[in-house]
């Protein structure tokens, strides 16, 4: 009940209007056929390549949206003192924070679904309506990375101020999305910097690999299971932090 009400509140926020507008613009651009994406001056052609690019972009935007959506929920409950009316009803902090995190994940997945609806329109416009079930499976897989980002943002917002939580969540998400670039930088850097990047890549969730595994479902490639389980493991760790961490209900 707490989660359902929190989701209802979330999807009324302006952020969801932004999600709708971004989706509409991206979908319109892609579906008109007038848009070309170039890499090194060479235009990308073919449905498979274009779909991979579209999926990568939409996954990245969804991850950023998950941070934005999830960051404010728990602090807002404490600022508005809504928690008084919940915690005095015998609801434990673990259950309360768990429900709010569930709302964050739910709202983030709804936002991701809106983006995926844009991708679906693109698929249909390209004559690939019969492959929509693949997009649905890809949505489920990529949803793991969205859930991980949402849980991370929720956990950070519970344990520290909104600004540091946002900075850390944003940095981790950016690093996760651009993991291949960091791997390239690591091999180029060497020395201490290389070791530092290597350590960061080892610790941070590789969101790009989850997205790649999901994208391969659409384009018919072989999907690797390892990134999916790693994503689930990270989500589990973040949820555990949320459930175990005891926030001071009131300071004065």
């Amino acid at each position: 009940m707490i989660a359902a009400t929190a989701i209802r509140e979330k999807i009324r926020k302006k952020i969801f209007i932004a999600v709708m507008v971004i989706t509409a613009v991206l979908t319109l651009l892609l579906s008109t056929g007038s848009t070309t994406i170039t890499v090194g001056g060479e235009p990308l052609t073919g449905f498979g390549i274009m779909m991979s690019v579209v999926f990568t972009v939409m996954h990245a935007v969804s991850c950023v949206m998950a941070v934005v959506i999830s960051l404010g929920t728990i602090p807002a409950e404490y600022e508005r003192r809504t928690h008084h009316l919940i915690l005095t009803r015998g609801v434990s902090q673990a259950r309360y924070h768990g429900q709010l995190t569930l709302a964050n994940v739910g709202a983030s997945l709804i936002s991701h679904a809106v983006f995926m609806a844009g991708a679906a329109v693109y698929m249909i416009s390209q004559g690939h309506a019969s492959d929509l079930h693949r997009l649905l499976c890809a949505y489920v897989i990529s949803g793991i990375s969205i859930a991980a980002v949402s849980c991370l943002s929720s956990a950070l917002s519970l344990t520290m101020g909104k600004l540091p939580a946002g900075l850390i969540a944003g940095t981790v998400t950016l690093a996760g999305i651009t993991a291949p670039l960091l791997k390239t930088a690591q091999s180029m850097a060497g020395g201490f910097a290389g070791k530092l990047l290597g350590a960061a890549l080892f610790v941070l969730p590789d969101l790009n690999s989850i997205q790649s595994a999901a994208a391969k479902l659409i384009t018919g490639g072989k999907t690797e299971m390892h990134p999916i389980f790693t994503g689930l493991f990270y989500t589990y760790i973040f949820v555990m932090i949320i459930m175990i961490y005891k926030r001071k209900a009131d300071k004065e």
Binding site: I2, R81, T88, R89, V91, E252
Partner: protein
Amino acid sequence: MLKINRITKRFKEKCAVNGLSFSVEKGEVFALLGSNGAGKTTTIKMILGLLHPDEGTIALDKGVTTGYSPDTPYFPPFLTGRETLEYYGAVSGMKKAERRKQAGELLSLVGLEDSKTKVSRYSKGMIQRLAVAQSLLGDPDLLILDEPTAGLDAMGRIEMIQLIARLKKAGKTIVLNSHILGDIEQVCDRGIIMKNGTVLTEWDKSADNGGRTLQEIFIETIGGIE
């Protein structure tokens, strides 16, 4: 029903409540009085279990349940009054049929029968009355009302005081925190005047107060208008 025995609460260097003791009997309306920073809200939070005293004990009679109406209530603006009560009923673990029944009865009690109006369209007074209604869910034995008339206009205050008087008549035990001495005098039986986390004096409406009003007692006790 409620016994507070020498409770102390410190926040770093500041002592918000210092060796506070009082008791509330069944069926009475008890007032917590004092200027800002006197320790009233900290005391309420400790009674509710939101804060734990560093020293002393808070004892509620066995099986006593509490309801709480906050000073600045916030409710999801997209819900109606009925939906809000049903939501908090569900959070309390009430069955669907029971929370529906109680929501209707409580909305009627606080004069918010219009079930279609969203909370976003409620006035401050209506939100305060809704806050009192949610505190009554599950028919608690002890009601804790924190500044229920704060920010209300004259009509809103009158309606709230009438509501508290109705609850008193219905036999509810109430702990009331308010700055408005006239309101306290109308509905409360006893109370304490606090300063710096301690009790300066106890007030009893039925006792011989030497013909002084509560306001006069308050000013004398606190030491002039601050």
